[in-house]
Symmetry: C2
Subunit: 458 residues, 2 copies
Amino acid sequence: MAYLDAASAAPLHPVARQALLASLDEGWADPARLHREGRRARLLLDAAREAAAEAVGCRADELVFTSSGTRAVHAGMAGALAGRRRVGRHLIVSAVEHSSVLHAGELHEREGGTADRVAVDRTGAVDPAAYAAALRADTALACLQSANHEVGTEQPVAEVAGACRAAGVPLLVDAAQSLAWGPVEGDWSLLTGSAHKWGGPSGVGLLVVRKGTRFSPAGPADERESGRAAGFENIPAIVAAAASLRAVRAQAAQEAARLRELTDRIRTRVPALVEDVEVVGDPVRRLPGTVTFSCLYVDGETVLHELDRAGFSVSSGSSCTSSTLTPSHVLKAMGVLSEGNVRVSLPAGTAEADVERFLEVLPGVVAAVREKLGARRPQAVAEGDGLVVDALGKLCPIPVIELAKVIGNVPVGSTVRVLADDEAARLDIPAWCEMRGQEYAGEEREERGTAYLVRRVR
Amino acid sequence: MAYLDAASAAPLHPVARQALLASLDEGWADPARLHREGRRARLLLDAAREAAAEAVGCRADELVFTSSGTRAVHAGMAGALAGRRRVGRHLIVSAVEHSSVLHAGELHEREGGTADRVAVDRTGAVDPAAYAAALRADTALACLQSANHEVGTEQPVAEVAGACRAAGVPLLVDAAQSLAWGPVEGDWSLLTGSAHKWGGPSGVGLLVVRKGTRFSPAGPADERESGRAAGFENIPAIVAAAASLRAVRAQAAQEAARLRELTDRIRTRVPALVEDVEVVGDPVRRLPGTVTFSCLYVDGETVLHELDRAGFSVSSGSSCTSSTLTPSHVLKAMGVLSEGNVRVSLPAGTAEADVERFLEVLPGVVAAVREKLGARRPQAVAEGDGLVVDALGKLCPIPVIELAKVIGNVPVGSTVRVLADDEAARLDIPAWCEMRGQEYAGEEREERGTAYLVRRVR
């Protein structure tokens, strides 16, 4: 039994549990009240704010607690965009931000604003020069994550923050994935975080707005948390969040080194143990505990189920999971394979033995899924000197599996047309070509679905 | 030591504490994930939703959990208003709603909508006929609390809901104060609640949207909680909220009868023990545990401090408390005295002895504050056949104290002009006249502040 999905939610840190229990009796009252219970709650809230601000590297009066990281992002973006409305309504985000950032950006566009999505390279990182080039005279806000939640790649935040500062544009950093490991470097203006990502309790996010940043809170007026986070404060959880952040930070350097070594093993050994695997994300500039790879010819959901049965909890950015029908926007933006995608994110304290056992179990799981799927017969039809594979109605990874089966049947120089209507094919067929050294020759709209053209070159 | 401020926040119920602890280990993971920890969290969330829905009297798929009652109100109002935008942009609220409702209404007006505030009588209740008369062809939403948070008066929700239903207008009921005692009767469309009001943990609100109610969630898209409450679910707190709601409901009938008897003692005996007191709110149609009164010639903040020192935690709607500069909008809408306002709200389980001791202590506390304030000399200046009291720059309750001191110095039929610039005087001078049988003759704007005219009639 090993939980390897810390990037979704980390198990509650013992210090968080202890602090939560201790403050249930002291922190339930309304901190706005004058009576002793209210004053006691206020003291706890103030102390938690001081502790969190110190860990983030800001002033206590710059930090408010929200009810989640998502809420912090929504409130931060809306407030910063409204605060600079006179400057303009242009927003910049990276293409691989968390959905909370992208969805807030989409809302901004629906309301008449404009947004640019800065592209990333194959490792998932933005180019600071490209980011800087997106800055305009009417840019109200720029957003960049500190590190990517799906592939672990760290973004060049300090450089981008410098460019934004020079242009007079505030930068909001979504630091949800990295705050456990240290403060965010650079001259950013707003920052958001989420306690349950660092082992704090659910129900606590944080939003930092640096002094001097124009900010106009969105939504109905509310007196709590400087008007930036409406609703009764969840003080026991806030106390637990701040205490656990301090606790994880005390071990951060040591634990980061240990987890980095463990994820390095996965990065190195998975491609040796399993054929047709692409490990994605930057191999060096990355979060210590996160590693992501994609396996050809398997579907993400079945792999998750089989790993779960074997005692490993991981997650997937594949389109073949129940919760989603489109492949991860992150993998798409990176232009890497999405099929059979597996994200392993180690919580602090993960045992070496668990990682070793994962590496033992994985090849058998992937092989079994491949064998099951490989039993299906491809439907290839000769057409001129090429071949047509009809994968209409088939979900990822079937179109790629059928392509792989027939590519050897056409002469070098000929083209295979793969007809598919699953959205993942658009990403995975070019990624397969890249991995297998074949030439991707583009797509053509068909009456039903799309034809993806692959030229055999070897 | 007695905490008598349950209407602000109730102490954590033992069942809530127990359920919270039990689910910390089971409910921290992401319920959207497919692995066992995610599935376990999802089961807990689903079970809590079933339990809460049963207590509220709705279907489980009509209820979502938010991060606070305020958030539930904001999300419910915004979603209902947006859902019926084609019908119109007219909103109806009562004048004594919680600030979360009023602030959401103000935002709606800033964004181009219109809002009517239905007046209340001296008990704080709306007249159902007057409420119905406010309904228009372009009314998108109507809001009415189940019971008032400051004075405990129950609203005629079922009758108003009937009128709204007949007009095809959805009614949102803010049930924050009453949900501990039972479901809200009547054919309402939306309902909101707040767990920490019934002894549940901080960080949980609930929003019910009946099937068939047009609803278009505001804010950025988010997949959680049917798209109606963005951000990672706080499952341990949600489990605790649902469990404690069931627990308080199991004792509700018995405990309501007991608390009602205790608050009846306060209603009856305070006016006998303390001179110049006005007990406010409906004496019969009211919450079992809440009783509110105002005392002439004292300021709310000092009374709170003295009661706190004597071991009693209560709250105040006076303008003379540190957290606010204007008197409670509720007392203002009722047209009752706001000075020296004290709200006593008994948590479930309040000991009879605590109430008795409160009744023993209160007269001395009020007398001491009055004596301290009464030491100030009034500044009355003869002017024609009347008198001018210059209370400019003086805060509540000084203007009223000075008026009371000089009224005997003018002949019956003469007028006293009280010059004041404290906002509370506008409410408290007429209320004083009503209590003392003198005639309030209106106000006149002065170069600085306002002159309040009081004619001595006895």
